[in-house]
Amino acid sequence: MRNRVPPRLAGGTKKSQRLHRGLLERAKQVQSVTREGYDVSKSFPWYRTGITQGTGVTANRATPIVSSQVVGGAFGESAFKNDTDDDIEVRRFTFLTFGVNDDFLARVGVKIESEKEDIIKKWLPITSLHTDPHHYLVGSQHQGIWVLPTPYFLQAGHTFTGRIIAPPSATPRTKELTITLRGYNPIDFDPIIMATTTTFPAAGYNTFSFTENRDGPLRDMIIEEISVGLSDVSDDFAGLAFFLNQVFILFEPPEGPKWSQDIRTPFCSLSTQMSVYGGITNGFYQPIVVHEPTNPIILSPGQSIKMSVLPFETEQSAQIIVTALGTQRGKRTKS
C-alpha cells in the first residue's frame, strides 16, 4: 500500500524530484524503519482516558465516602481496556483534576488491578505514584510537547488532521493555538516540522489539518513529537492558569487504528515536557501525577486494567481524569 504513487506529486524543484525518485525506489528502505525491534509503520500510539467524579464531603470522616471505578464505556467497562487485536504496552498513567485546590489529588486514594493481579489493593494516595522527579506537578502550563510513545509513520500525500473542542471555561476561547508535528524523513533523515494554527470553537469542535505533507514536497514523515502552544505568548496569562488542562484535542491520523476513542483527554495528560510563560506563581496549581511503570504493563486483546478512586476526607469535589498511555504493537520484525 505504501509503495503506490500518491495522487499528487510535488512541484518541479530538483530536490522534490529527487525525493520523488527516492519515494518510488524506497520500498526496502522504508520497511526497515524500526524502533525497539518493531516496525514503526505497524506500531501506533494508544491512549484511553477515564473520568470519574471525586465527591468530597463537608462532614467529618464518619460520613461514608463512596469509591468509584474509572470507567470509559457505556456499560461500566474499565476505561483502560485493550479493545484492539494487538498487544498494548501501557507505559504511563496520568492523573489530573480541574478547578480545585492543589492538595486534592493528595487526598484521593487509588486502587489498581490488572487481569493478572492486584497492583495496588489498598487505597494509596495518588501522589505516591509520581515517578518523575523533574516533571512539574502542575498543569497550568502554556506550551506542551508530547513525545509519542512510538513514532507514527505519516505517508506522503496523506493529511494528518485533528479536532479540538471548546474549553470548559470561557477565557481561553479567544486564543489561538499552534499545533506542530515534528519528525524526520525516513529516506534522507532530514528534519521535518509541520505547523498549523487553530482556534477554540464556541461550541462543538473545530478541525485542523496539516496540509504541507499533502500539498508540498512528496515525502514520508516519521512523526516523533507533537506540540501545542499559544501562538501569542505576549498575552496576560494570569487568566489562563489552567491552559493545557483545557485543551482537548483528538488526533486523527490517516492510517492505522485510532489512537484514542474520544476527545476528553486534556493535552497536558499526554505531554512529556511542559513549559510556561511568565512563571507559575499566578493562579491555581493544578496537580498532575505521572506514573511510569519501570517496564510496560502488557495488555493482551480483551484485557483491561481496573482502577478505582476514593476521596479521603475532603471538602472538595472534582473530576478526576486518568489517562493510560502506551503503544499498540504490530508484529515484531526481529527478535
Binding site: R107, L124, P125, P287, N295
Partner: protein
C-alpha cells in the same frame, strides 16, 4: 558474587550564627564490608531561602584529606543539577530484593496549618526479575493525623513476592501539595530487609524535613555527583562539608547526601 546496591540518604541540619563557620561530617553508611560507595547527589537547602544574595560559602571534601577546593565558594557555584519538584528519588542503580524480604518504613507528617491532616503513602517501583513485569511495593495510612504524627508503614505490601526476586528503581512519598513553592515535606525513614536503615530524613526541631531531595524553592542547590564523575568513595570515608555564614542573621541549613553502597552477596 552478585553485586547489589543499597540506597542511602543522609540528612543533617545545623544552624550557623552570622559570621561564623561550621562543619558537617556525613558518615555515609556503615556497611561492614561494602566494596565502594557511589555518591549520587548532594544538596544544600536553606531553611529560610534567600533569593537575592548568597550568604553561604562552602567547601567540600573527604575527612582526612584536603578539601577539593581550599577556597570557599558560594554555595550556588557547586550547583549543577535540576531542582527536583517532588518527593521522588530514582536510585542511581537498582536495588535487588529476594523472596521473603520486606521493607519497613516510617513517615512523619510535617505540614502545619490548614489543611492539617492528609493521608500518606509510600511507593517503590521496580520489576520482577523472573518475567520482567513491573511491580509496586507500597503502603499507606489512610487515617487523617495531626502534624508531627508518625505513621509506621510495615504491611506485607512492602514484601517481595514469593516467586521472584525484584529490582527496585526508585521511591516516592505522597505529597500533599502541587504547589511547587511549598517547602513542607515529610520525615521519612526506610529500613532494608536486614533492618539496616537506608534512608533517614530526620525531623529536626519541628522543621520540615524531606525525603532525600524534595528541596524546592530558591536557592536550592543540587550538586550532581555520580560514578561517571568519579564520586566513588571507600565505605569508611566521611563526606565533609564546611560552610561560612556571611549573612546578617543565623542560617539554618539542611545538607542531604544520597547514593548507593555496592555490596557483594
Amino acid at each position: 558474587m552478585i553485586r547489589n546496591y543499597l540506597p542511602f540518604v543522609r540528612q543533617q541540619y545545623f544552624e550557623i550564627p552570622t559570621g561564623t563557620r561550621d562543619y558537617a561530617r556525613i558518615p555515609i553508611f556503615s556497611t561492614g564490608g561494602g566494596a565502594k560507595v557511589i555518591l549520587d547527589d548532594f544538596s544544600v537547602w536553606q531553611a529560610v531561602p534567600s533569593i537575592t544574595d548568597s550568604p553561604l560559602l562552602m567547601r567540600i571534601g573527604v575527612m582526612g584529606y584536603k578539601y577539593f577546593t581550599e577556597d570557599f565558594q558560594a554555595v550556588q557555584a557547586y550547583s549543577n543539577g535540576h531542582r527536583p519538584l517532588c518527593s521522588r528519588w530514582n536510585f542511581p542503580k537498582p536495588y535487588r530484593m529476594y523472596p521473603g524480604q520486606k521493607l519497613r518504613t516510617q513517615i512523619t507528617r510535617m505540614q502545619v496549618g490548614s489543611p492539617i491532616d492528609y493521608p500518606i503513602g509510600i511507593m517503590f517501583n521496580g520489576i520482577r526479575e523472573k518475567d520482567q513485569r513491573p511491580i509496586i511495593l507500597y503502603d499507606t495510612d489512610e487515617e487523617a493525623k495531626a502534624s508531627q504524627a508518625v505513621s509506621a508503614l510495615n504491611d506485607m505490601t512492602l514484601a517481595t513476592p514469593h516467586d521472584s526476586s525484584i529490582l527496585l528503581y526508585g521511591v516516592t512519598v505522597s505529597q500533599w501539595s502541587g504547589d511547587v513553592l511549598n517547602r513542607t515535606g515529610v520525615g521519612v525513614q526506610i529500613w532494608g530487609p536486614d533492618d539496616r536503615q537506608w534512608i533517614e530524613t530526620a525531623v529536626y526541631d519541628g522543621a520540615p524535613a524531606q525525603i532525600g531531595l524534595r528541596v524546592i524553592g530558591p536557592p536550592t542547590n543540587v550538586m550532581q555527583l555520580g560514578e561517571q564523575n568519579g564520586w566513588v568513595l571507600d565505605p569508611k570515608q566521611t563526606f565533609t562539608v564546611e560552610i561560612i555564614n556571611t549573612n546578617a542573621g543565623t542560617e539554618g541549613v539542611y545538607l542531604t547526601l544520597r547514593g548507593v553502597v555496592e555490596v557483594e552477596e
